[in-house]
């Protein structure tokens, strides 16, 4: 198990390095002069002005040196400074990252808590339960997240005035207010995700129920409930964990819309503002953070595999 952990972590580190390198070179292979791009393609800048931008960004130095500085900077937590505000990018990200992480974590917990039991129930009962599950999840999957979000705001905040329509009070200031602010965005984000988890669980449960070891367990006189929980459900978790890992990664994208709809102070707002203002260090910083988060989540999934299935430890 220890060597399994070491292998997985090493793989994740190598992957992170590859991604960082890709981001660096992607930026340097974008056609045109970055300085000119940064100047907004504005012909008003003189050659001298552009040169200044190049120097301030270190763009005039050899590519190898730029790359080394970039990697060292990222490792040291230095993501450069925003063009628009002059503030360190790392600081702005750190200020907004917790809200996004809280949103994603809350949505993931909701999706797992709803999706696994729902899917397990449908897979075990089949028949009507199955039909019900399939139709409910179809709806949840079909309706786009911004429609659900807008509808939720309209009903819960505007019509019934039960929950705030947007914003987020920090947990430390007002725990209840924090939870109330988190609830709508998290539920909205988790809806389609619960549907995916439920369907995956259902399929896995049905498949696992046919396995020989389930029959063996039954033949030794274990109760139905025990056979289901310890033999069917436990062995159905591997595909579910995979899907959860991938979907949490995709949350990072979906939360862009959610944060807009609910005026939620997360990292995506930073990204959108950065893109529209061509605030290039900000964009790069956010992309790096999202990529690293994605790698971390997948590392956790891989380790979970090892815990769930002893056979995965050898591979």
């Amino acid at each position: 198990m220890v060597s399994f952990l070491i292998r997985r972590i090493a793989t994740a580190i190598v992957l992170a390095w590859v991604v960082l390198t890709l981001i660096f070179f992607a930026i340097h292979t974008v056609p045109g002069d970055p300085a000119y791009q940064l100047a907004g393609g504005d012909s008003g800048f003189t050659e001298e002005g552009l040169q200044q931008i190049r120097e301030s960004l270190g763009l005039d130095r050899p590519l190898g040196e730029q790359y080394a500085n970039y990697l060292l900077g990222v490792l040291g937590g230095d993501l450069g400074e925003s063009f628009a505000t002059g503030q360190p990018v790392a600081q702005s990200i750190l200020r907004r990252l917790p809200a996004t992480l809280q949103l994603i974590a809350a949505a993931a917990v909701l999706a797992i808590a709803a999706g696994i039991p729902f899917g397990a129930w449908a897979g075990r009962r089949r028949g009507m339960a199955d039909a019900l599950m399939t139709s409910v999840t179809s709806v949840a999957l079909a309706v786009p997240v911004y429609v659900v979000g807008a509808l939720a705001v309209l009903l819960f905040s505007v019509t019934w005035r039960l929950l705030p329509a947007g914003g987020l009070t920090p947990f430390a200031e007002d725990p209840m207010g924090f939870l109330r602010g988190l609830l709508l965005p998290a539920v909205t984000l988790s809806l389609a995700f619960s549907a995916v988890v439920a369907r995956m669980t259902r399929t896995a449960v049905i498949e696992t129920s046919d396995r020989d070891w389930v029959r063996t367990a039954t033949s030794f006189g274990l109760t139905r409930r025990r056979v289901f929980n310890r033999y069917v459900l436990r062995n159905s978790m591997n595909p579910v964990v995979t899907v959860v890992g991938l979907e949490i990664g995709s949350f990072l994208g979906a939360s862009v819309i959610i944060e807009r709809v609910f005026n939620y102070p997360g990292i995506s707002t930073l990204l959108i503002d950065g893109v529209s203002a061509r605030d290039y260090p900000v964009v790069q910083g956010v992309v790096i953070v999202i990529a690293v988060l994605f790698i971390l989540i997948n590392l956790v999934v891989d380790i979970l595999y090892g815990i769930l299935d002893p056979r995965a430890r050898i591979r």
Binding site: W213, T216, T218, S219
Partner: protein, 554 residues
């Protein structure tokens, strides 16, 4: 006759509800098992033997409908409550299954399995259950029982898994053990050990055994009584000696006739073809094949310093247990596996270091038949096209009308009606599919064929006819054949020479009669001694001799 049998099944019919219709698969089966007795339930695939056995403790899928009566120690089980059946399972009636790999949950250790089995019938602590589990593992002859508790199913061998299964099964000292093909997936020497264990436990625990098998050798070895099933009906029953020597039932006699019998006393060799004087078709010298096992780890040596030849027109049997490297050799001489050292000349072409084009040319003259015809035929292509594909791929023939005619002729040569050319593999039985595979293999009129366990997935009656066909074609077309098998009796039936492999090395090679009648090497002797022969009287003698020999060794 005592008034109540331990298990009494009477007029049991099982039907499956499929698309709103009931499809009956067994029709009024009667059988019984008495205390301490070993009864074999015999039949080919689809005969309903497993369905009948699974009915006893209601382990059939939910769409199964049972009617008739199943009594255990006088108690009717068909109408018993679910809770009552649950209590009976494992406690009074335990089961073991064919494939011990898939029958154990891969995410739990052997210890966890045993503790679950023990604690579901008795209210004892985990520690007490673990202590008992250690004792059980010792009783079933597993080495280092304490360490075994912490192992996962994938970390131990097939034979050890089956022993662990048996340990679970006897944990509550059941009165009846139902064993569904318990040794089918195992090597013969391992099978012999498992059968010994079952017989010993029968005596030690006084339990009855209902063993489901298709192997008449196993039946002759262990059964007191036999029940023969065919198409969902019991067609014959009686004591083992009666079934083997005095049965008047045609089906039973055909079944016994079809079983290849190793070193039968009055055996008529069906005439395996010896090599002609021409240059050998396959010459293997100093062959070494390694598999990489991981970074900075010593490679696994699958085949080591193996040398042999297959003469022109000769059929040579390559036998060995699982992991002996026999299939690896088969793949290597076809150029499908890299060779680390040595040489292999196939129809004049040296495989080691061969250029791609030469390998392709060589493949025109060689062909292969695999074990499972179900997965080696493309399910979306009609068989008439499949069998002529080698001619298309090798650009030997392109005219589709000629190819169609060839396909029909080929089908006829493997005794399949020529009109079937447009059928798909799923419309054929297992034996028919294997004939189609053979038709494809001979389509290029090869000079050399590798047949890798071609009959292992087939029922005995079908196996016999496929072997006859293969031999007939080999004789008429004159190709040489490397016949890979784990089944000594099959090899004896058709090979002129035999090579015995063990752990990647050749133990012994020679003519089939020398090797199988008078083996010199202890390994070959043990291998042959472990094969149960379908003749109860002879098998009793063989069993006694084998156990005595084992006693002397230890």
């Amino acid at each position: 006759m005592s008034d109540t049998h331990l298990l009494e099944i009477s007029s049991l019919s099982v039907a499956f509800r499929i698309d709103g219709e009931n499809v009956e698969v067994t029709h009024g089966v009667d059988l019984h098992v008495d205390e301490g007795e070993v009864v074999a339930l015999v039949g080919e695939s689809g005969s309903g033997k497993s369905v009948t056995a699974m009915s006893v403790t209601d382990l059939l899928p939910p769409n199964a409908l049972r009617s008739g009566s199943i009594r255990f120690a006088g108690e009717e089980l068909l109408t018993a409550s679910e809770e009552r059946i649950r209590k009976l399972r494992g406690d009074d009636v335990a089961m073991i299954f064919q494939e011990p790999m898939t029958a154990l949950n891969p995410v739990y250790t052997i210890g966890t399995h045993l503790v679950e089995a023990i604690r579901c019938h008795r209210d004892i602590t985990r520690e007490a259950a673990l202590a008992e589990a250690t004792g059980l593992l010792e009783q079933v002859g597993l080495p280092e029982p304490a360490a075994m508790l912490g192992r996962y199913p994938h970390e131990i061998s097939g034979g050890q898994r089956q022993r662990a299964m048996i340990a679970m099964a006897i944990s509550a000292r059941p009165r009846l053990l139902i064993a569904d093909e318990p040794t089918t997936a195992l090597d013969v020497t391992v099978q012999a050990g498992i059968l010994d264990l079952l017989l010993r436990l029968r005596t030690e625990l006084g339990m009855a055994i209902l063993i489901i098998t298709h192997d008449m050798g196993v039946v002759a070895d262990v059964a007191d009584r036999v029940v023969v099933m065919q198409h969902g009906l019991v067609v014959d029953r009686g004591t083992t000696d009666h079934i083997f020597y005095d049965s008047s039932q045609t089906y039973t006699r055909d079944l016994l006739e079809a079983v290849p019998d190793l070193s039968a006393v009055a055996m008529t060799r069906s005439g395996a073809v010896a090599a002609t004087g021409e240059a050998p078709t396959l010459e293997v010298a100093g062959l070494r094949i390694e598999y990489r096992t991981g970074w900075r780890r010593a490679p696994f040596v699958a085949v080591d310093d193996v040398s042999f030849t297959v003469g022109d027109g000769e059929l040579v049997g390559l036998v060995g247990e699982s992991g002996s490297g026999k299939s690896t050799i088969g793949r290597a001489v076809l150029g499908l596996t890299p060779i680390q050292a040595g040489s292999a000349r196939v129809v004049g072409t040296e495989i080691v270091g061969v250029r791609r084009q030469d390998l392709r040319l060589m493949r025109r003259t060689v062909s292969v038949v695999f074990q499972d015809p179900g997965s080696s035929l493309n399910p979306r292509v009609p068989i008439g096209r499949t069998i002529t594909d080698p001619l298309r791929w090798n650009r030997i023939e392109r005219d589709e009308r000629v190819l169609r005619k060839t396909a029909e002729d080929l089908l006829e040569s493997v005794k399949i009606p020529r009109e079937w050319a447009d059928r798909y593999p799923h419309e054929l039985s297992g034996g028919q599919r294997q004939r189609v595979s053979i038709a494809r293999a001979i389509s290029t009129r090869p000079r050399f064929m590798v047949a890798d366990e071609p009959t292992s997935a087939l029922d005995v009656s079908v196996q016999a006819s496929v072997l006859d066909l293969l031999q007939e074609l080999q004789r008429s077309m004159g190709f040489s054949c490397l016949f890979i098998s784990h089944d000594l009796a099959v090899v004896e039936r058709i090979a002129s020479r035999v090579i015995v492999l063990r752990k990647g090395e050749i133990v012994e090679q020679g003519t089939a009669s020398d090797i199988l009648r008078a083996p010199r090497e202890p390994y070959t002797q043990a291998l042959i001694a472990a094969v149960p022969v379908p003749d109860p009287r002879r098998q009793r003698v063989r069993r006694a001799e084998r156990l005595a020999a084992a006693g002397r060794r230890s």
